[in-house]
Amino acid sequence: MIHLDNVTKRFPGGQEALAGLTLSVDKGEMVFVTGHSGAGKSTLLRLIALIDRPTSGQVIVDNQNTQRVKRRKIPAYRRQIGMVFQDHKLLYDRPVFDNVALPLIIAGVSHRDAGRRVRASLDQVGLLHKEKQRPQTLSAGEQQRVGIARAIVTRPKLLIADEPTGNLDPDLSLEVMRIFRRFNEVGVTLLIASHDIALIDRLGCRRIELEDGHLQEPQEEADQWQ
């Protein structure tokens, strides 16, 4: 589903966020990306979402080489991917329902279909009863679940999440991860950046560790600990 081949991302200052990174995520996998802040987790996700482009190397997502996606085609490309953010990125001037419906409206789904799908999405994150509320009246955990509902409402094959539990306490974090887990069980590929290693170990998913833009085998790290 995701394939990075010798990807380097250098910022204008000369600082390298990713240095010759090669990795693969198979279809239907649920993979965590860990590492210190500045290790390149966010950059990796940004390259996949085409918010940034690599300095060199190839990023292939769902058999599409992102390098060949023209600027004008980026919106259509992004619509195939569900995205969850640490700061939710909800729109606070409209109720929960409208926030979740936004990707469908962008995609031009008819009103009736949209309503049904939004409710199905909200149901999956357990917020069906809050559809008329404004995001600011919800707790941080609920806001994050609204963000997740918005990410899955278009039924993407791939979902990427950048520190989705960064602002949540352990119980809420686990709840969010369980929701992700359920999507994974129905075939959605997930790539989640997180530094909550204890939580990840509880879920027993594959973990990719980044350090200074390089791949760090989790095994090695385990050796270091011993």
């Binding site: 979402a49 918010i51 919106p75 259509a76 490309y77 992004r78 619509r79 195939q80 995205m83 990125k89 909800l90 729109l91 001037d93 936004l102 990707p103 469908l104 409206i105 962008i106 995609a107 031009g108 789904v109 008819s110 009103h111 199905a120 149901d123 999956q124 994150v125 357990g126 918005r150 990410a151 278009t154 039924r155 993407p156 094959k157 359920r182 999507f183 069980e185 129905v186 075939g187 959605v188």
Partner: protein
């Protein structure tokens, strides 16, 4: 909270490109833009007012010129002209001629100014009284002042003047239409000035709307970033701003019409009084349907144009970070 997904539910969204969806999308975007304007009624009203006044100004001057032209068009046909008779025509012949011309259907009245009367009047008005007294005989001819009937057209006026000028007794026909022509020339200049002024004011409207839209875009920067992040195209993000510009134009244009109509309503009384003094039946013409539609149409176009240019310029700069 049960997960009810199955294989075919995982299929990605296919946008149903039906015309009706496009239409409902525009309808909801336009209503959304309208709602946004109504949530800031004072600020929106100010913009609309600026547009309305800017449009009403040239429109009102145009209406005044139009009225002046229609009024002055009748002057040509109801204009007195003077016929100077040959010096050797005696008073009795002149009186007879005045009577005959006065019987014509295309003439309303004829008055005779005899040479003596003319001289007396000239003495009185010119201030050369003493000098004129030195003259042995009166150098002035008898003259007829012909007032054509109002039913004359420009063409029949010329014919009438020619016929009278061809009479054996007449020496010279003098028509004082020059000032009417000058007046028309002035109106033409005013018209031209309006056209230039209207173009400049149109630019002003574009700047005002463009600037408002620019501020609007800045205020909604975060929203634009988020929508772009989840896959909105530039066209999608631009659409509400286009509608905002359109609404500004529409309301500004409609308001301009109201201003012009109200101004004409205020003028109607004094104009009718003035017309009464001249025994004329002057009616104040207001904007006709085509002109009204043109004003509103131009306003809508300017609104759309301004917002399109502004949105196109700024939309590309706002990308998710």
């Amino acid at each position: 909270m049960a997960v009810t997904r199955n294989a075919d539910a995982v299929a990605p969204v296919r946008s149903s490109g039906a015309f009706s969806i496009w239409l409902t999308r525009h309808a909801s975007t336009s209503l959304g833009a309208l709602g946004r304007l109504s949530r800031q009624p004072f600020a929106s009203l100010m913009i609309v007012l600026v547009i309305a006044v800017t449009l009403a100004l040239p429109a009102a001057i145009n209406v005044i010129v139009k009225n002046a032209q229609s009024v002055s068009a009748t002057w040509n046909n109801a204009l007195d002209f003077s016929v100077y008779l040959k010096a050797d025509v005696p008073v009795s012949d002149a009186e007879e001629l005045a009577r005959l011309i006065g019987q014509r259907a295309d003439v309303e009245s004829v008055s005779l100014i005899t040479a003596d009367e003319a001289l007396a009047e000239f003495k009185q008005q010119s201030g050369f009284g003493a000098a004129l007294d030195q003259l042995n005989d009166n150098p002035l001819p008898h003259a007829l002042v012909v007032r054509p009937s109002a039913s004359n057209t420009s063409a029949s006026m010329i014919l009438l003047q020619e016929e009278i000028g061809n009479l054996p007794e007449s020496d010279l026909v003098q028509v004082d239409t020059e000032w009417v022509q000058r007046f028309h020339a002035i109106l033409d200049i005013v018209r031209q000035a309006i056209a230039i002024g209207a173009a400049l004011l149109g630019i002003a409207i574009v700047v005002v709307i463009g600037n408002t839209i620019r501020l609007d875009i800045e205020n909604r920067r975060e929203e634009i970033e988020v929508t772009k992040l989840i896959g909105a195209s530039n066209a999608f993000v631009r659409r509400p701003f286009l509608w905002t510009g359109f609404w500004y134009g529409l309301f500004g244009g409609a308001f301009a019409l109201l201003l012009v109509e109200y101004g004409l309503f205020l003028l109607k009384g004094p104009v009718t009084r003035l017309a009464g003094l001249y025994q004329g039946n002057i009616s104040v013409a207001s904007l006709d349907l085509v002109e009204s539609a043109a004003i509103v149409g131009v306003a809508c176009f300017l609104g759309l144009f301004a917002s399109w240019v502004t949105a196109a310029r700024h939309m590309y700069r706002i990308e998710p970070r």
